[in-house]
């Protein structure tokens, strides 16, 4: 069912844990649906110096979380917000179709961590500039991402 790359990240997930006193925290998913992840970041200047994750979920949820942290580490905020679900899936050599949306939330989690960081610093203009207004709005309303909302009826 899963690609070798997915299984490899699932077996040996990178960057597991929580950063102490993180600069930004992003949480996405819902345990009711079977997926929940928290991403913490440490930002230095404009660069994501460190990133860690914790995930409750299936194999794909764990592998995508691991991959996102690997892709984001060392990137500028501008580069990091461009990491999409598609990017993550491609980096993992593809995901089964039914896992594409429901269990591929880590990119959203990362964006939320960046929003959290910028918000704490009062950099609202930067949120707008990076195209993260919708993420901010959803975080404030406590909403899931659109696709997750649709597929997970609670």
């Amino acid at each position: 069912m899963y690609s070798e790359k997915v299984m490899e990240h699932f077996r040996n997930p990178r960057n597991v844990g929580e950063i102490e006193n993180p600069d930004g925290v992003g949480t996405v998913g819902n345990p009711v649906c079977g997926d929940l992840m928290t991403i913490t970041i440490k930002v230095n200047g404009d660069v994501i110096e460190d990133v860690k994750f914790k995930t409750f979920g299936c194999g794909a949820a764990i592998a995508t979380s691991s991959m996102v942290t690997e892709l984001a580490k060392g990137k500028t905020l501008e580069e990091a917000v461009k990491i999409s679900k598609q990017t993550v899936a491609e980096a993992l050599g593809g995901l089964p179709p039914q896992k594409m949306h429901c269990s591929n939330l880590a990119a959203d989690g990362l964006r939320r961590a960046i929003v959290d960081y910028l918000k704490k610093r009062g950099e609202m203009d930067r949120i707008k500039e990076l195209g993260l207004e919708r993420d901010l709005e959803k975080m404030e309303k406590g909403e899931e991402d659109d696709e997750h909302e649709e597929t997970c009826e609670t």
């Binding site: 899963y2 597991v16 079977g34 979920g57 299936c58 949820a61 039914q98 597929t151 009826e153």
Partner: protein, 367 residues
């Protein structure tokens, strides 16, 4: 069964010698299987599997008896091959009562009795649940059904070959069985129909199997099914005892050694080969993948792999929260399960659970 795939290829409906030989083989299988469930010999029809048997049992009785009434009683934890035919009948104007079950997955016979109406024509309850292992009080329900003159169908797929299945003792009118669940070949099932039960086919054609299941019989498969039934009839009791002991060891070992682990299903009224457990803070599929790497093949009630993300209807019906259902894991034992394998699970599982809990954001948060 091999000769029936190679040289003995007569059509059992033909009158020539090879045909009669095939007919004889079918009837011998019918006898063997009927004997296993304490039937009267010719009262089994062969199908392509339990799904077809359940469809014929439910739709076939409903259609044939709709003049008497259009109400059917079943439970909320039936197999989809019972639930979906019921849903289909609802669209055709039938009324279906889906009985609740308690925390252990048991149907209350008193509630069955209360739900019977003037227009109730069928009660369909599984003998045991394949997912949580709970055994239903079918003798009590059968007695009620018989007293109130309502047909009683049981789905015995999960129970046959594990616990006693006796159509007379439980006053059964219709009973579904499957070959592959007693180590027979796949693609064969049976439906016991007590003599005199009014039922009609759901598939129409040449009128094989007493007119109830048209289409040339799968002779080789049916022969295999019959042999499997014969072997199981002789061996199942000893095997059930052996498996129950291993199952108890597994369950006790897990509950003792893994914090916040719980048993799903009934603690005692339970199939000897079933251990369904849940673990807080983690998700079933990740557990399965990790166990698979260690050569342990378990299943899950979690629907994370399905499109809807809906957890198993059985786990929801026994009152689990979504996250509890997602963290459930099913071990089934079989003839090949050894004590060493159980010990291996006990060695591996605590580590896997611990590893996944370390990754889980729920684990730390809640302590």
């Amino acid at each position: 069964m091999m000769p029936y795939l190679t040289e003995r290829i007569g059509n059992p409906s033909s009158l020539h010698s090879p045909g009669l030989e095939a007919r004889k083989a079918l009837d011998e299988s019918r006898e063997r299987i009927s004997k296993f469930i304490n039937g009267d010999g010719g009262d089994i029809i062969f199908t392509s599997g339990a799904t077809e048997s359940n469809n014929i049992a439910i739709i076939g009785t409903a259609m044939r008896n709709s003049g008497k009434g259009k109400h059917i009683i079943t439970s909320s934890i039936e197999h989809m091959s019972v639930i979906n035919p019921c849903k289909y009948l609802q669209k055709q104007g039938f009324e279906i009562t889906y009985l609740p079950v308690d925390r252990n997955g048991r149907v209350d016979p008193d509630i069955v009795e209360q739900e019977i109406r003037e227009d109730t024509i069928l009660i369909s309850i599984q003998h045991a649940n394949g997912e949580i292992g709970t055994i239903q009080p079918i003798e009590k329900i059968g007695k009620i059904a018989s007293e109130r003159d309502v047909y009683f169908h049981i789905d015995a797929v999960a129970s046959l070959g594990k616990i006693e299945v006796d159509v007379k003792r439980a006053n059964v009118d219709l009973l579904t069985i499957s070959s592959n669940d007693i180590y027979g070949p796949r693609g064969v099932g049976g439906l016991y129909i007590r003599k005199g039960v009014k039922i009609q086919p759901v598939m129409f054609g040449g009128g094989q199997e007493q007119g109830l299941r048209s289409g040339t019989e799968n002779v080789a498969g049916i022969v295999g099914f019959g042999i499997a039934a014969e072997i199981m009839r002789k061996e199942y009791k000893g095997e059930a005892e052996r498996q129950a002991r291993l199952r108890d060891k597994l369950i006790a070992g897990i509950l003792e050694n893994i914090e916040e682990s719980y048993l799903n299903g009934h603690p005692t009224e339970r199939l000897p080969n079933n251990a369904n457990l849940r673990f807080s803070y983690i998700e079933g599929e990740s557990l399965i993948l990790n166990l698979d790497m260690e050569g342990i093949y378990a299943s899950t009630g979690s629907a994370c792999s399905s499109k809807t993300l809906q957890p198993s209807h059985v786990l929801m019906a026994i009152g689990l929260k979504h996250e509890e259902a997602h963290g459930s894991l099913l071990f089934t034992l079989g003839r090949g399960t050894t004590e060493a394998q159980i010990d291996h699970v006990m060695e591996v599982l605590p580590k896997v659970v611990e590893k996944l809990r370390e990754i889980s954001p729920l684990y730390k948060k809640e302590r």
